[in-house]
Amino acid sequence: MDLVLVWAALVALAMILYILLDGISLGVGLLFQTGAGEQERNLMMESIAPVWDANQTWLVFGGGAIFAAFPVVYGVLSSALYLPLMTFIVGLIFRGVTFEFRAHSTRKRLWNQAFFFGSLVAVLSQGLTLGGVLTGIKVSGGHFAGGAFDWLNPFSVMVGVALVPGYTMLGASYLILKTAGPVQEKARRQAFWSGTAVLGFMAVVTVWTPFHYPLVWTNWFSAPRIYFVWMFPLLGLVSAFLLVKSLKKGRELMPLLSSIGLFLSGYFGLATSMYPYAIPPAVTLSEAAAQPETLRFTLWGAAIVLPIVLAYIIYSYSVFRGKVTEEGYYESGN
C-alpha cells in the first residue's frame, strides 16, 4: 500500500479527532460565561476536567505526525502561519492552566475570564490558521517564501468567526449529554442557535470558497469528485435536521452526534478539495513526505501503539461516563 496515502489518512484522522474532541472543550470554554453563578460554571468545568488533557493530546500527536510524515508541511506552514499559530498556543496555555488554578482560587472571576478568553483566542486563531492555509501559501525551493501577514484577509477572518458558533454547538451538545437541570436547559437553546449560525456560515463558506480558492470549484465539479462530493452537503443537511429534531424532542445523545455530523461534512468537503495537495496551491502530498524509511518506522509505531491508546482512552471516558453532579471532582474527596 502507498505509505504516503496511509500517512495522509492518519494525519487526517488525528486532525479531525483533535477538532472534535478539543472542540468540545473549547466550546464549553466559549459558553463558560453564560453559566449563572459559580455552581453552574463548576458543573461545566467538571464535565470536561477528567478528559480535556487527553483531548488536547491529539493536537500534540497530530503535530508530531505531520512533522514526521510531511516535514515540508510542518516547516512551511508553521513559518507561514507563525503569528496565528503562536497566538493559538497562547490561548491554549491560558485555557489549560485555568482548570487547576480556578479550582484552588477563591476569586474565581479572574480565571473565568482567562478560561473564556483563552478559548476564544484559541478558536479565532485556529480559524485564521485554517483560512490562511485555504488562501494558499507561497513556497519556493521547498521553503516558505511569503510575508508575515499573508494569512490575513476577509476570508480567513470569516473562517475564524465561523468556528466560534461551530465549537459553541459542539460544546453545548456535549453539555446536554453531561449535565441536567438548568445548565442542560440552557445548553439546548445554545445548541439550537449556534447550530443555526453554523448552517448559515456553511452556506457562506460553500459559496465563498470556490471564489477565494478557484481550485476548489474545478475539483468539486469535475470527475471524479463530482460522483461523491454531493454526499457531504447531504450529510450536513441531514445532520442539521437531526440536530433540530433531537433538540425539540429533548434527546441527550443525538444533538452531539448530529453536531459531529455537521463538522464531518465540512471537514470532508475541505479535505477532498485539497487532495492531492498538502500545501495549496503547489506542494503535493508526495513532494512533502519524508523518506520512505521514516514513514515506515513511524507507521509501525502508530499501528502498534494507537490501537492501545484508543482502548485506554475509551476506558478512561467510560470511567467518567454519566452526568456530572454537584458534588464535583475538585471540591470534595471525589
Binding site: 477528567p50 488536547q56 500534540v60 516547516g75 497562547v90 487547576e100 510575508g147 524509511e293 521514516t294
Partner: protein, 467 residues
C-alpha cells in the same frame, strides 16, 4: 551580534531558551513527583496505613497544579521547531521528527489518558486500577524524557544518518536513537528530576516540621523522600562523571569550554581548573586556580592523557567558555552538596536525630530549590556547549532558522515574556496556598479504596525512631 531586534536568529535562540527554561521546571517535578506518588501508593496498598493515603492525596494536589502548566507550555516547544527553526526541521526531519512523534504516541497519551483517573477516579475505580494509573502516569513521564533526550542527544552526537544535498537521511534508527551520548544523558536527566522532586518534598516537609505542624505526616513524607534520595544522589555523581567522558570523546570543544582549557597539553597532563575566569577575546584565563594533571586524570583516566584545548578550534566554532565553565561548576557543586547532605542525613539517622536536628531541617529548607537550579544550569551548559552548532559539527544554528521576519519572533517573545511571569506567579501562589492549607486528614476514604485490615492514622510507627 548587531541589532538584536532585527535579527531573527538571535531572537529565535533567545525565545527557545526562554520557553525551554520555563517549561523544563515543570516536567522535572512531574517526573520525580509521579515516582514518589507511585511509591507512596504502593506503601498504602501494602502497609495499609492510612497516613500513606493522606500523603498521596496531599502531594497529588501539587502534582496536578504542576502538571497543567507543564503540559501547556510543552505544546509550545513542539511547534517551535517549525515556527522558528523550519530549515533545521525540514533538513533533519527524516531522522529527528519520528522521535517527537513517538513521544506523542507513547508518552503523552499515556500521561493524559490516566491522569484523569489518577486525580478524579478515587470513587470510580478499584484500588489496583488506581495504582496502575499512577504507575502509568509515572512511566509516561519517564518515556517522554526517553524520547526528548534521544532527540536532543541526536543533535549533540548525531548518528545513524547520511547527509545528501544538505538533508539528513536515516540509515539506522536504532543508531540514531541510541546515539553515543543518549544513554548517559537520559539517566542524568531522569535522576536529576528524581533528585529535584525529592529535595522539593524534603524541603517543604522540613519547613512544616520546623513550624511544628502535623509532625507525624511530614516526618513520614520527609522520610520517604530521603530514602529515595539516598539512592539517586550518589548515582547522579557517578552518572555525571560518565557524562563528562562522553562529552570528552564526542564534543571536545564543549569539554574544553566547560573546563576553561585553552592549550592542548603536549608534555605532561592537563590541569583541572577549580576556579577560572576565561576570556574569549584574549584566549586565556584571566585568573585560575588549578590542580596539576587533574583534567587528564578526570577525562582520560591517566595522569598525562591528551586533552584538546579550545585553541584547537577556530574562534567561530568555539562555545562561550565563560558561561560553560561557571554553569557547569555550580551544577557540579550542587550535586556534591546534595551528597554531603545525604551523608549528614545518614549520620543523623544512625544517631536517631534525623527529625530532631533543627539545623538539618533548616538546611533542607534552604537547599530546596537547588535541584531545579542545577537542572537549568546543566541545560545551559549542554545547549550553550553545542554552539555554534544546531546539529553538532554538521549544521549551524544560523542555517536552521525559519524564513521569517524578526517582527514575528518579537511578537511571540513579547507575549511569552508577558505571560510567563503571570503564570509563574499564579503557580507559586496556588502551590503555596495548597501547601498552607495542609493535608486533609479527615475526609473519609471512599469505601472502594479502603483495604481490608487497614491501620488507622494513629496506628503503626516508623521504626520507632520518630517520637
Amino acid at each position: 551580534m548587531g541589532d538584536i531586534f532585527s535579527d531573527p536568529v538571535s531572537l529565535s535562540r533567545l525565545q527557545f531558551a526562554v520557553t525551554t527554561m520555563f517549561h523544563i521546571l515543570f516536567p522535572v517535578l512531574t517526573i520525580g513527583l509521579a515516582v514518589y506518588l507511585a511509591v507512596v501508593e504502593f506503601l498504602w496498598l501494602t502497609k495499609k496505613e492510612e497516613i500513606y493515603y493522606r500523603m498521596y492525596r496531599f502531594w497529588v494536589k501539587i502534582f496536578a497544579i504542576n502538571f497543567g502548566v507543564g503540559v501547556v507550555s510543552g505544546i509550545l516547544l513542539e511547534f517551535q521547531f517549525g515556527t522558528n527553526f523550519s530549515r533545521f526541521s525540514q533538513a533533519a526531519a527524516n531522522v529527528f521528527s519520528p522521535l517527537l512523534a513517538y513521544e506523542g504516541m507513547t508518552a503523552f497519551f499515556l500521561e493524559a489518558g490516566f491522569l484523569g483517573i489518577m486525580l478524579f477516579g478515587w470513587k470510580r475505580v478499584p484500588k489496583g486500577v488506581h495504582f496502575l494509573a499512577t504507575c502509568l502516569v509515572a512511566f509516561g513521564g519517564v518515556l517522554s524524557a526517553f524520547w526528548i533526550m534521544a532527540a536532543n542527544s541526536w543533535m549533540q552526537t548525531p548518528a545513524g544518518y547520511r547527509l545528501a544535498e544538505g538533508k539528513f537521511f536515516v540509515t539506522d534508527f536504532a543508531a540514531a536513537i541510541f546515539n553515543p551520548s543518549f544513554p548517559v544523558r537520559l539517566s542524568h536527566m531522569v535522576i536529576a528530576s528524581f533528585e529535584a522532586a525529592m529535595f522539593a518534598i524534603a524541603g517543604i516537609s522540613a519547613y512544616f516540621l520546623l513550624k511544628g505542624r502535623e509532625p507525624r505526616f511530614y516526618r513520614r513524607s520527609l522520610g520517604v523522600a530521603l530514602i529515595l534520595a539516598a539512592f539517586f544522589v550518589p548515582l547522579q555523581v557517578l552518572i555525571g562523571d560518565l557524562n563528562g567522558l562522553v562529552v570528552f570523546r564526542h564534543q571536545p570543544a564543549k569539554l574544553a569550554g566547560m573546563e576553561a582549557h585553552w592549550e592542548t597539553n603536549v608534555k605532561g597532563g592537563a590541569p583541572f581548573a577549580v576556579v577560572a575566569w576565561p576570556s574569549m577575546k584574549e584566549e586565556r584565563n584571566l585568573f585560575e586556580l588549578t590542580i596539576p594533571n587533574g583534567l587528564s586524570l578526570l577525562v582520560t583516566r591517566s595522569l598525562d592523557g591528551r586533552v584538546e584545548g579550545l585553541k584547537e578550534f577556530p574562534p567561530e566554532n568555539r562555545p562561550n567558555s565563560l558561561i560553560l565553565f561557571w554553569t557547569f561548576r555550580v551544577m557540579v557543586a550542587i550535586g556534591f552538596l546534595f551528597l554531603l547532605v545525604m551523608l549528614l542525613a545518614g549520620y543523623l539517622w544512625r544517631r536517631g536525630r534525623l527529625f530532631k536536628s533543627r539545623a538539618f531541617l533548616r538546611t533542607l529548607v534552604l537547599i530546596q530549590p537547588l535541584g531545579f537550579v542545577a537542572t537549568e544550569l546543566g541545560w545551559i551548559t549542554t545547549e550553550m556547549g553545542r554552539q555554534p552548532w544546531l546539529v553538532y559539527g554538521l549544521m549551524r544554528v544560523s542555517e536552521g532558522i525559519s524564513p521569517i521576519p524578526a517582527g514575528n519572533v518579537l511578537w511571540s517573545l513579547a507575549l511569552f515574556l508577558l505571560i510567563f511571569p503571570v503564570l509563574l506567579a499564579s503557580y507559586f501562589y496556588y502551590v503555596f496556598k495548597t501547601l498552607g492549607g495542609g493535608p486533609d486528614l479527615k475526609t473519609p476514604i471512599p469505601p472502594i479504596q479502603r483495604p481490608a485490615g487497614m491501620l488507622a492514622l494513629t496506628g503503626g510507627g516508623w521504626k520507632g525512631r520518630e517520637s
